[in-house]
């Protein structure tokens, strides 16, 4: 069924609108927010969803206000923003490399950020803020290194993935080394970080993420048109007037920034960047990068996974990364079964 609508203004402007995609975005946003409200209500001191909403709107009692606004809201906001950044970053990577596995997990950005964080944890016994900065620097340096190493009169998607695999292997080895030389307390802290966790996140992590998203989202969306054309190949898009290298470089920088910041805030939560764009694409049934649906899908996925981990294992027993890892496995199996039934693989 064709669901595109075209809106025309009297001035002669027209705007293509994919009704299905818009519906998906709205629904996913609602799911993400609802999961966020439920997550705020979950914990040692349960609060009903109605009370949570009331408190968020400023009508709660003092105790609820403290628990909701000071303790649980920042965690949920970090979850939403990290999920959104990972979803968007993953969609950008997959579109730029034109490869469904061109996710930051595969390219080694997560490992790079981990290396930065491990250096801080193991060598300097740094506090949470220093670990965050270390992870950010690690992620950005790795992203830059991959881009420069893959550069050879332009960046080719396949070469980018290959170089990413090589860099990722090196950095993984360094991480393994750092773990073996650390003492066991630091190692335990490092493993929790490496799994990806939202425990104990506060407002300090919210603001940088929010600021970055506010700057990058309009920038990315403004270039989405070029990205969509680039799916037809570099030559065609050049002919259509897209400045391919410039758009690609710009979007790569945006994707690296988004992923590195998200990883710095919550650790390398696996599979959100890989699966969110794929799931979003299946829901919207439209080709193209599906940027906004992926963003909302990432946010919904991460917050739901965090809620699931708290319900299944008890508050703060296991970090969210364990759940996303297992969910990722289940998703791939489901993909295997459905694709096989459809006779595509």
């Amino acid at each position: 069924m064709k669901t595109n609508r075209v809106i025309r203004t009297p001035g002669g402007l027209s705007l293509g609108l994919d009704v299905r995609a818009v519906t998906v975005v709205v629904l996913l946003l609602l799911v993400a927010l609802a999961a966020g409200v439920v997550l705020i209500g979950t914990g040692d001191f349960p609060i009903s969803a109605g009370d949570v909403v009331k408190t968020l709107l400023g009508n709660g009692n003092a105790g609820q206000e403290f628990i909701v606004n000071e303790l649980r809201l920042p965690r949920v906001l970090v979850g939403l923003l990290v999920g959104a950044s990972l979803g968007l970053g993953g969609a950008l990577f997959q579109a730029v490399t034109r490869n469904p596995l061109g996710s930051p997990d595969v390219l080694g950005l997560g490992q790079g950020a981990t290396a930065g964080a491990l250096v801080m944890i193991v060598l300097f016994s740094g506090n949470a803020a220093q670990v965050t900065v270390g992870a950010l620097v690690g992620g950005l340096v790795t992203g830059l290194a991959i881009y420069l190493l893959a550069w050879k009169r332009g960046v080719h998607g396949y070469r980018l993935v290959l170089v990413g695999i090589g860099v990722s292997a090196i950095v993984t080895a360094i991480n393994g080394y750092l773990l073996t030389v650390s003492d066991i307390v630091d190692a335990a802290r490092a493993v929790v970080w490496m799994t990806g966790s939202l425990n104990g996140r506060d407002w300090d992590q919210v603001w940088p993420l929010l600021g970055l998203c506010a700057v990058l989202l309009p920038l990315v969306l403004a270039n989405a048109r070029g990205l969509r054309m680039m799916e037809m190949g570099d030559d065609v898009s050049n002919a259509l007037g897209v400045r391919v290298e410039r758009v690609r470089a710009l979007l790569m920088v945006a994707a690296v920034l988004l992923t590195a910041t998200a990883t710095a805030a919550a650790g390398p939560v696996s599979f959100v960047a890989l699966t969110a764009p794929q799931l979003a694409r299946r829901l919207t049934r439209s080709p193209g990068p599906n940027l906004l649906p992926s963003l909302c899908m990432g946010a919904a996925l991460l917050v739901t996974a965090d809620w699931a981990s708290q319900r299944a294992f008890g508050a703060d027993q296991l970090p969210v990364g364990v759940v996303t890892g297992v969910l990722g496995g289940v998703y791939l199996l489901w993909l295997l079964v459905t694709e096989r039934r459809a006779g595509r693989i």
Binding site: A173, P319, V326, G329
Partner: protein
Amino acid sequence: MLVDSPPEQRAETAPAPPTRRAVRALGLLLSAAILVLVALASIAIGAKALTPDQVWHGLFHDTGTYGDVVVDERLARTVLGLLAGAALGLSGAVLQALTRNPLADPGLLGINAGASAAVVTALTYFGVTSPSGYVWFAFGGAAAVGALVWFLGGSRGATPVRLALAGTAISAALYGYLQAVMIMDDAALGKMRFWTVGSLASATNSTIVQVLPFLAAGTLLALVLARPLNAVAMGDDTARALGANLNRTRALAMLAATVLCGAATAACGPIVFVGLMVPHVVRSFTGPDLRWILPYATALSPVLLLGADVIGRVVARPSELQVGIVTAIIGGPVFIFLVRRRRTAQL
């Protein structure tokens, strides 16, 4: 990795001209010679360096002198390095042919994840603490996951993409489990952080005896499969037209790769980069014919592994760097260099 690979190069159907074959045979001899040198270096070099005389004495006229004892100590490690290196390279080459993906490595089929999950289970829930105790767990885990991936990938109807997808899925779930156990159990973390980097340091004669039958059987099977896998590399339809038994070849190749990689991983932990890189490098000068790739990979993979082990012993004196770390730190840049050279990137 499940990367859309550019079209495969065709395996040559006509026999190579005699000169090229001679060059390749000579190259193979040269590789074997390098391998012997590296193995001797691995016996000679370490915290206490030995002269060639002492190495010779220790190997062939063992009279229990100090030098002879050192040789004995390093011999187990060197032999395990030779065996594990050859096994990893072979299993990588077989898997790349089986999945028709130049980037496939044994980790792709979840073998490393299976071994790791089994070892962490043995440590935490069965109280097994000695390396020779968890060899069986690691091998069992690798074999179980290999079988599961084969089953989920559609057993007789398995295709490369299905296998890769099934392997990635199982790995993801098992790594989630692994991390959960490590977070909850500090003792398991204390052991696992050393096991997961991959090391030859704990090699003993008993470990070698445990894995040797599997390595020998796997190697034999892999070498026999060279010709049928050449046919598979041409694509399903052509292979069938040439009379290849696709299902049998795939099943046997999967078996060989699982046994080889599983046994090597059981003995020295997950060493990932050898199986990916060596076949990749070898292919750039032998071409796509597996009858050459497999022997070359068998000879050159231990060169990388043992060479890395020797370097790891030298650079961090008096302690040492685990071989898994050194292989990746040397192999990574070489791999990137090769990727940047156009020819290999398009394989």
